[in-house]
Assembly symmetry: C2
Homo-oligomer: 257 residues x 2
């Protein structure tokens, strides 16, 4: 069996009892830090679980994933994944491959920025539209994906918030870089209000709401960072939460519908 | 301090180490089962944490929430919340009230259907649009909220999936009832494809993809249930996952873009 175990939003203490138990019982335990950069590492996870853990690289998850699937045909193999499994499509592809090879699978869920963003911003879960990832320009073409810009525009049309993940490779992108990329796609974006979030789930998590042109110069400290672009209109209770917990400027009162 | 602790998607074993530790250290521990119906109860949680836990009712979370806030001014008060805290706006309102009364707050995140839905369906996280709750008709007016119908239509316009939560009160709504309510708003909805999910996070979780008119007669077993209406077009990898893990009919191949 191949067991996908989420390790949660920040460090190894975000693992659930169910996840810890399953990892302890498995024949082999692997972990990957390719799809996210959590505040834990293989030593801390090994100590918590009391066993050896092997780190998988990108190739192990992609072109060589069949090796993992083959081992799971004979053994109970646990794959530790930062956040909640299956948010990255890489893991979904491995689960499909396993099923096609007759290997049983199981998912053990954990905390993720996808739901935690509501607690960090006070924005209502049901008011989030599609999300997107802001990627670094491809160096060979210096082209920038227009997908995040299109997603923001589509969500603005239906009065929805937009959660933007920032690229991790070659190194975790910061909010200021992400805003520069958005600006290069359409400088009108700078007038939108957004909430920047740094180190979601950590004790030193920072959430700051402001217009994008001002957030660009705000010091969020070290990664990981994500960005939420507000819908054109916000609910009064969203406004109150933003005011109390994200140091939002007075102007966002004008967005209240 | 007032500490909001998520107990996770299914039962007490979905609590994180961080959440358990914080609940054990708190001066008082409360739990509420008003905003969700998890597969745990106060006895199981008390046993896990080795301490007394008091159950809060709807009124304790709404008109009488100031009492909780006042206790948290002097003591460390932990409030256990099924799923991830702050998905229900009730909790967000208490956090704002606490801040306004000078009470420190903290959120400890846990697993939630909001992100777990991706693992259960294989649908890409970034392709979900706004979500909505299908409520029972108000008995005094026999009127039905049009909000879920409008949300589905808006998401269809931007080619996004729609996660629909089902009403919990007076008792958890089932998928067949939810589909009847959608049908009464617009019978064309019956032609849309969707995935029904029962008991998310449990070992006996069921996921079934089909057209809404056929899902209406499918036996999902006991609650809790949620429903995901598919976008008009799906990605090839979404199709493959749906085929392998949700017993999807051949026809959904036509949705692949």
């Amino acid at each position: 069996m191949l067991i996908f175990i989420g390790t949660g939003i920040w460090d190894e203490n975000d693992m659930s009892l169910r996840g810890i138990e399953a990892a302890k019982r498995a024949d082999e335990v692997y972990v990957e830090f390719y799809t996210s950069r959590p505040a834990t590492n293989v030593e801390k996870l090994s100590k918590l679980l009391g066993r050896k853990i092997k780190v998988l690289e990108r190739a192990d998850l992609e072109e060589k994933s069949i090796e993992l699937v083959r081992r799971a045909k004979k053994l109970d193999v646990a794959l530790l994944i930062p956040g909640d499994p299956m948010i990255a499509t890489t893991h979904a592809a491995i689960r499909v491959q396993a099923k096609q090879h007759g290997v049983k699978t199981k998912i053990i869920h954990s905390s993720s920025i996808v739901s935690a963003v509501c607690g960090m911003t006070g924005l209502h879960n049901y008011r989030f539209g599609r999300s997107a990832t802001i990627s670094y320009p491809h160096t060979s073409y210096t082209s920038i994906s227009k997908f995040p810009a299109e997603t923001i525009k589509a969500n603005q049309q239906i009065n929805a918030h937009t959660l933007l993940f920032l690229d991790l490779h070659p190194k975790p992108m910061e909010i200021s870089q992400a805003i520069s990329i958005l600006e290069s796609l359409d400088e009108n974006f700078l007038n939108l209000f957004a909430v920047g979030i740094a180190r979601a789930g950590a004790d030193n998590c920072i959430t700051k709401c402001d217009r994008l042109d001002r957030l660009k110069d705000f010091d969020f400290g070290p990664p990981m960072h994500v960005l939420v672009v507000l819908a054109p209109k916000i609910h009064i209770t969203e406004y109150e939460y933003l005011k109390e917990f994200t140091d939002a400027p007075k102007e966002i009162e004008d967005l209240v519908e």
